[in-house]
Structure formats: structure tokens, C-alpha cells
Amino acid sequence: MTILQANLLPPTAVFPDKLLLPLWAEIIKVIPEAEGVITLQLKFVDPQVHDRYRFEPGQFNMLYIPGYGEAAISLSSDRESASGLVVHTIRQIGNVTRAAGRLKIGDIVGIRGPFGTSWPLEAIQGMDVVIACGGIGLPPLRGAIYKIIRNREHYGKVTLLYGARTPSDLLYPAEYEAWQKADIDLQVTVDRGDENWTGRVGVVPMWFYHFRVDPHKTAVLTCGPEIMMRFVIFEALARRIPPGNIYISLERNMKCGQGACGHCQQGPYFICKDGPIFPFITLENIFNVEEY
């Protein structure tokens, strides 16, 4: 069984040798995505910083809003898209993210990052890819989708399983057609339909019953509520997909992003620095331990 390691990239943004000091970035565009979800497109105020800033899909920034604090937010695009802007899709659910929802074009926020591991898009070339995500779990994978589309010939069958609570909670619906045109098998499901919904109703992991996977050449990338990922992993393992080919993005309380403050520890790992993306094989002994 081959074990593919998630890519650990050194942070490329140069941030000052001052503890937790962010760099300012200006909001170029605010896109309402769904009820309580917005996308911010950002540009570093210092053009040199902006030019040097590099990241890979799956990594995250610490977003700082003066007076409110910081939140770990994944990058929801990739460097080559969105005119090189830094893109964050944010669910307004906490103190900082709700403040982010009130920001307007021209406002500035602080950014530290990028932090963490990224989706192993080079390592899984040549394989079929199942992307399984739920709710706000799609944004951390959108950059990976863009990258796969740009290098579509390097991947086999690509399936995107995406679930949301209701049809109006679906993110990025305007892009689905382009994804499908790029030969991505997009399967959307919702927990509750509305009067116009003619698609599937149900949970993401159940989609595994609707298609066949070749376990020896399939990689799974999953991000969403932990309970969803638990069952995605269950279904993937049941189909003999090796645990080294299942990649999972974890969420924990994070304050520093550098494995220093201690909050995001799970077993031997600092999720912010050793994750957030892990090959499931490295989590096998701890993922199912209650409250660990």
C-alpha cells in the first residue's frame, strides 16, 4: 500500500519577525454567496508582499479584524485564478467572521499566512479523484478543483460530491456548469429540498452507493463536518480504498498557525502545522477517539 504524504509547504509570505503581527490587505470585492456566507477578495496593501505571496489549495490564513481578533480561514481559490487575489469564503458564524461579514470594499484586514499542509494534487496525478465535501467544506477544496481543471489530463475520473442543508445554501452555483464541462462528475445533494428542487436529497456519504470506484487508483479528498467525513471515510474504506489515499481536512481551535500556542493539538499533531490536511492513515489511531 502506498502512503501519500500531504504536501508540507514552507510559508512563502514574508511576515515580520514579530509575534502574531499581520500584514494589511485591502478588500477588493465582496461577493454574497448564500445566506450568511460571503467571499472576500483581498489584495495586500504592500505590493511587494502581494507579489511574493504564494500558497497552495488547502492552506489557510489567519484573518485579523481589528477589535475582534483572528480566525483561521481557508483559501478558497488558487493563485492563478481571481487575478491573483487572496480569496476567502467565510461563513458568518463567530465573533470575527460576523465582523468580516460587515466589511465593505476598501476596508482593510490583517492577514498572516499561509499556514498548514495542502491537498496532495501532484502526488495523486494519474488517479481517479473523489472530492467529498459538505457545507462550508467546499471552499477549501475549490482551489484544488481549479487546479485539477487546469491540469485535467493528469487525472482520471473526477467526481465531486457536494452536500448542503438546503438548495439556497449551495455555494458557487454559477460555476457548476464550467466544472461539468471540464469533465467533473458533479453530484449535489441537500438535506432538505424546496418547492423547486428536483435533485437529490440525502447525505454526502450515501453517494458512494451510486457509483463504482477502482480502489487501487482512487484518491479521496474530503472536507466538511467531522460527522460527514467520518462516514465518507467509512464508505471509502469499505470500498477498499487504502487509508493512505484518503485525505481529510481537520478543523480545530487555532490561535497562532505555527504550532506554538497549543490549542489545535490532537494527539501527536498540531493541526495548524502538521495539518489541516492529513492522509487518513496518519490519523487512524486518534480520529475515532471520543473527545480527543
Partner: protein, 373 residues
């Protein structure tokens, strides 16, 4: 001219009154001299001038959930075992302003002009020095170097003291950290009633001693010191068997004992605050009422705080059982893989200062017994 017989590694007998002059010399060199003082019926670490500030003739009596000071009447200044405070607070301040964001048209950062500190720590015990070495591995890594810690650590002067009368909660000998100092200090004192035997550990230490009225120790003094050190080592009765750590804890996350200890633990966070190696911190923001500025601070945090693991939707570890398990499996388990050492030095503070008297050595033993059963 410095006596050529005075080398790093050599020991001298120093009249106790000479410590005042030595501290005076350190202050002239720009050091803040920090040492143990009697305050609020406890030993605390703070700025000292000389012998008059030290707790003369004071011993401590420590047991699980119990700390008392007693008058020994002995003419000794370092006869006690350290209290709740450790030197951690000087290298890793409990509250530290990082920066202030100021809205002046646009938001700007006003960096905190952190004053550089050169501390001379007076009376560092072997377990405490070991704890500093553990925190070095946490704060000064290849991939993360804490600027606050680094500045304070690099300028540090360490005057060590060998423990001669360990308390009931001490178990440094199990962790290989004490009671005797081996290396890493500038000067190391072993205290007798009449004199300090001082071992020189650095060039700076040698220079300081050379200025003082010392003599080379008589066979009598040397012998008395050796006997005291041996006695100290033998008097440590508390043991922690580390032979099967970290696996014992990491592989038994479902042990019944976690539930049992979870019932006694109050999650008060005392153990993490008194621990000389615990390093977790939080960052908080305080906004000015009109929203024109906001101060960002780093403060000590504890894995026993319910909000420590908060993410939207709840806490990862809502039950105390899981928080105690997190603390112990990190300290005596995951720490090894993360930093190459265990996170415990055997100082016993977490036993003394636990209001419920929870003793981590007993908890490890109970898990071991449960697994074997």
C-alpha cells in the same frame, strides 16, 4: 589577574555575604537580579537586592494539595523547595502586549516597544533549569522561534542552587532532572550553614567569582557537600516509572482511570499555571470603546479551560475527563514526539497545588495497573 586555578568546573568556598557583592556586580552589568522572596506565606520570585531579601531559615512542607512554610531556624537562604511560581513567568510573560491597531484614517499597527530584559535568575533548582531546557525546545525551534522568549533567554544569567532537602511531592530523580545540577548554569551554589560552595559553569561566572573573596574548599567542606547531595538524592521517595512512556498513555486512551480522575479533577487549571513547562497561550483583543484602537495581547492559557478547544458548534473536549487526558497524554506522551523530550521535569508543583490532591505519578501507576489487570 584571575587566579589560574579558577577554571570552569572548579568549585570555591564563598562567604555568604559575598553574594551581595556578586549581585551588585550583576546589576552593574545591566542585569535585573530576580530571586526567591517570602511573600503572602509563600515563596515568590521577584526583584531582589541581596541576602536580606532571601527567605532565611525557611523551609517548605509540601504534600498533595498542601503547602506550608516552616521556620527551620537554620542560617540558610535556599533551604526551601520552590513554591507555585517558576521562572517561566520571566521568559514567557503571563501577559504580553503584542501590538496595538490604531485607526488613524486607515488602520495602522503600533508595535509594542518591548523593553529588552536581561535577567539574572538567583536560586534556580535543577528541575527548574531542566524545565527551561524543555521550554527552549518549545519556543526556539527551527520552524518557529518566539521573539519574546528568545530575547529573554539569550541574555539570561543563571545562578543555580542544588536542592538538599527535597519535599514529599518532588520526583526529579525519576525524570533525570535533579536534585543535583549537572550543566547549563553560570554558577551553582550548594549551601552549608557556614558557607556557599560555588561551582563555576561559565566564563562569566568565573569572572564574577574572581572578583570575590573566595577560597578553595577544604576537604571538610567538600565532604559535607557531597554527603548532603547524596542525602538529597536518597530522600526523594516519590517515583514515576517512565520506562513504558509515552506508549502506556497514548495506547490506552480508553482506560477507565481517565473517567475516574475526571470525577476528581476540578479543571481549575492550577496544574498548568504552576507547571514550569506548560506553554499554551491565547491571544486576546481589547477594543477601545469607540473602536478607534485595539490592543492584542498574548496571555497564558490552559487545556483545562472549557473554551480552549472551542470551535463553532462546541468544544472538542467538553468533559473534564477528556481535558485531563489531553493534559497528561501531552505532558507524558505526545510531547516526546513533538519536542524530543517528555514535558515533565518532576518538580511536583502540579501535585502540591492541585486543590483535589491529584497526583500524576499515582494516575500513571493506576493506568499501568489497569492495563496489566
Amino acid at each position: 589577574m584571575i587566579d589560574k586555578n579558577l577554571t570552569i568546573g572548579s568549585s570555591v568556598s564563598l562567604p555568604k555575604s559575598e553574594l551581595d557583592n556578586l549581585l551588585e556586580d550583576l546589576r552593574k552589568m545591566g542585569y535585573e537580579t530576580i530571586g526567591p522572596c517570602l511573600q503572602d506565606e509563600s515563596i515568590v520570585y521577584k526583584g531582589i537586592v541581596g541576602l536580606k531579601d532571601l527567605p532565611r531559615g525557611i523551609q517548605s512542607e509540601q504534600k498533595p494539595a498542601s503547602y506550608r512554610l516552616i521556620q527551620s531556624g537554620k542560617p540558610r537562604y535556599f533551604d526551601f523547595i520552590p513554591g507555585s511560581q517558576s521562572w517561566k513567568q520571566f521568559l514567557f510573560p503571563p501577559r504580553q502586549t503584542l501590538f496595538t491597531a490604531v485607526k488613524d484614517g486607515r488602520w495602522q499597527f503600533k508595535e509594542n516597544e518591548d523593553q529588552d530584559h536581561r535577567y539574572a535568575l538567583i536560586g534556580v533548582r535543577a528541575c527548574e533549569l531542566a524545565a527551561i531546557h524543555v521550554q527552549d525546545k518549545v519556543f526556539l525551534r527551527e520552524d518557529f522561534s518566539d521573539p519574546v522568549y528568545r530575547q529573554r533567554r539569550e541574555g539570561l544569567f543563571l545562578l543555580a542552587v542544588n536542592c538538599l532537602d527535597p519535599d514529599e511531592t518532588c520526583f526529579c530523580s525519576s525524570m533525570g532532572s535533579g536534585p543535583k545540577h549537572t550543566a547549563g548554569f553560570d554558577l551553582c551554589i550548594t549551601e552549608l550553614d557556614e558557607t556557599f560552595l560555588v561551582e563555576i559553569g561559565s566564563e562569566l561566572g568565573r569572572t564574577l567569582i574572581a572578583e570575590r573573596n573566595f577560597e578553595f574548599p577544604s576537604a571538610f567542606v567538600q565532604n559535607a557537600v557531597n554527603q548532603s547531595l547524596e542525602h538529597a538524592n536518597e530522600s526523594i521517595l516519590r517515583k514515576l516509572d517512565t520506562s513504558d512512556l509515552p506508549d502506556l498513555l497514548i495506547k490506552n486512551l480508553d482506560a477507565q482511570q481517565w473517567t475516574e480522575v475526571g470525577k476528581r479533577c476540578l479543571a481549575c487549571a492550577n496544574c498548568t499555571l504552576v507547571c514550569p513547562t506548560c506553554f499554551c497561550w491565547d491571544a486576546t483583543d481589547s477594543a477601545e470603546i469607540l473602536g478607534r484602537s485595539s490592543v492584542r495581547e498574548r496571555v497564558w492559557d490552559s487545556c483545562f479551560n472549557p473554551n480552549f478547544s472551542y470551535v463553532v458548534g462546541g468544544n472538542t473536549r467538553p468533559n473534564i475527563r477528556s481535558r485531563y487526558r489531553q493534559w497528561l497524554t501531552h505532558k507524558l506522551g505526545a510531547w516526546q514526539g513533538q519536542f524530543g523530550v517528555l514535558g515533565c521535569v518532576g518538580c511536583g508543583r502540579c501535585i502540591t497545588w492541585c486543590p483535589a490532591g491529584i497526583d500524576l505519578t499515582a494516575e500513571v501507576e493506576a493506568i499501568r495497573a489497569e492495563v496489566k489487570a
